[in-house]
Symmetry: C2
Subunit: 265 residues, 2 copies
DNA sequence: TATAAATGTTCGACTCTCCGGAACAGCCTG
DNA sequence: CAGGCTGTTCCGGAGAGTCGAACATTTATA
């Protein structure tokens, strides 16, 4: 857990949330594993788990603690809460049907990348995550596509907070490399990723923005690296481009329709 | 928040998690709203929010606190962690394509019902939830289908914990009604819901079990009540029956294939 | 069957830390 | 410029979390 500045955070709550991270990281954990991972007394861990269980965040099945279904419930709420969610969802399914690769839509939050719509099995699988948190911005096509649109100070803030740890041998690990890469991204209009997050995995991502220029997130295509040659690369980039246009047009339609709302009954 | 027995729970963590519930319930909240909702000092709320934000559970956009994308990440993990997730997912999409209504798959956890696979917009929408938690078992077709398979003591435990609050005028509110309803469910093989959770909403659900008889969850079909007549009711029930068979066959295949695992590398 | 090693749970006392209140810096709107 | 709001910091007191030990249960090992 590389939490940076613990000033002002409540240690009790932080300990509880750290337990959640540990359970995620270990993909389910027993009591003793958690005691060892946290350096807390058994009774303390017990109290935390009991509290988390009380609120539905943790369940105990077969002497193993796991994250609860409440996270599904809250996750779905977060997804549907976003005003662009239907547009993003439709764009991803269109992209998925048009392309031979996997499509998804990801956003940046707190300097990390979370996939919101796409194939569950890959996007957020804990097997590919370093700690309990989602992907780093610098190891994903979506992350690079998104931060390429940010002012430099904001990018530096993210680097300061999370660093540039390597996920594979191909990962970017220095600021200079990263900023050079971001310049390339801006130049060619999309970001590419060749095994920088997961060995043998290739992806491209393109940021989508509101009419006012705010970045919503990034549309992505990903798949195994061995199928990639110059031609497929070009076709996939072309597809991604068209998907981004569809998304931004959908957003424009969303905001120019004052009637036909679904909010009130 | 009708948390039952606060013995042994950590008040600090509980306060933080209660804030999450409040944000969900209010669909985003400002600081002062949270201060009022919780009866805590402003500085205390501030500390909690800072801690939650530090871990990615809360974000602040435009002077409003919202739940963070990390919940999507954790929710997806919970979904994919379940060994039956692919079978459930495939069954739901089959059912959805075959039926004119909305299909989903829900599970019971901690005495509440959470929809795992299905249309996001409806299943877990906070607009239809009484408190921050998912649906009650007694107001949903899925809940009734699931607990109809449970021993009576387990059903009573759930009632003791959550009570039988009415969501609409049609809701079941007494133990006697509920147990009579569960007997009907067992008799006809599926549970029906006519506006007991949401006014004007109709649904049916059928529990699916492992070969050893453990209940995985419930497959459901739902839609507006006004389209329901005897004929559609019969066709939908028939579809649900076939979907349940597909699911249970899928599970059987899952367990009789010792080779082709994806767990080790 | 007995022994050992897990987990789940309770209890009390020390001490850490969370809570409240007040005060101040920004940012809007009037 | 006053009057809302939010976001943030500070400090003292009191309340609450942490630890460690002990016991009840269950599962595994000899």
């Amino acid at each position: 857990m590389n939490r940076h500045d613990p000033s002002g955070v409540l240690k009790t709550t932080a300990a509880s949330l750290a337990l959640v991270d540990h359970i995620l990281e270990l993909e389910g954990a027993t009591m003793s594993e958690l005691v060892e991972a946290t350096d807390l007394a058994k009774s303390t861990v017990h109290a935390h788990l009991k509290t988390l269980a009380e609120y539905g965040y943790v369940v105990n099945i077969d002497n193993e603690y796991q994250l609860g279904a409440k996270f599904c419930h809250l996750g779905d709420y977060v997804r549907t809460r976003k005003d662009y969610y239907r547009v993003a969802q439709e764009t991803v399914s269109w992209l998925d049907s048009e392309s031979s690769m996997d499509a998804d839509f990801a956003v940046e939050e707190h300097g990390r990348i979370v996939s919101l719509y796409g194939d569950l099995e890959f996007a957020n699988s804990p097997r590919f995550l370093i700690d309990g948190s989602p992907f780093h911005v610098h190891t994903t096509s979506s992350g690079k596509a998104i931060i390429a649109e940010y002012p430099e100070t904001r990018v530096r803030d993210i680097i300061d907070r999370w660093g540039l740890p390597a996920a594979t041998d191909a990962s970017i690990t220095t600021e200079d490399e990263l900023f050079a890469e971001l310049a390339t991204v801006r130049e060619q209009g999309y970001a590419e990723n060749s095994g920088e997050a997961v060995e043998g995995f290739w992806a491209i991502g393109k940021a989508v923005k509101s009419p006012r220029g705010e970045v919503y997130g990034s549309l992505n295509l990903s798949g195994p690296a061995y199928v990639i040659d110059e031609e497929t690369r070009a076709t996939q980039a072309e597809l991604l481009e068209r998907a981004a246009e569809r998304f931004e047009q959908g957003i424009a339609e969303l905001y120019q329709t004052p009637a036909g709302e679904t909010d009130e009954e």
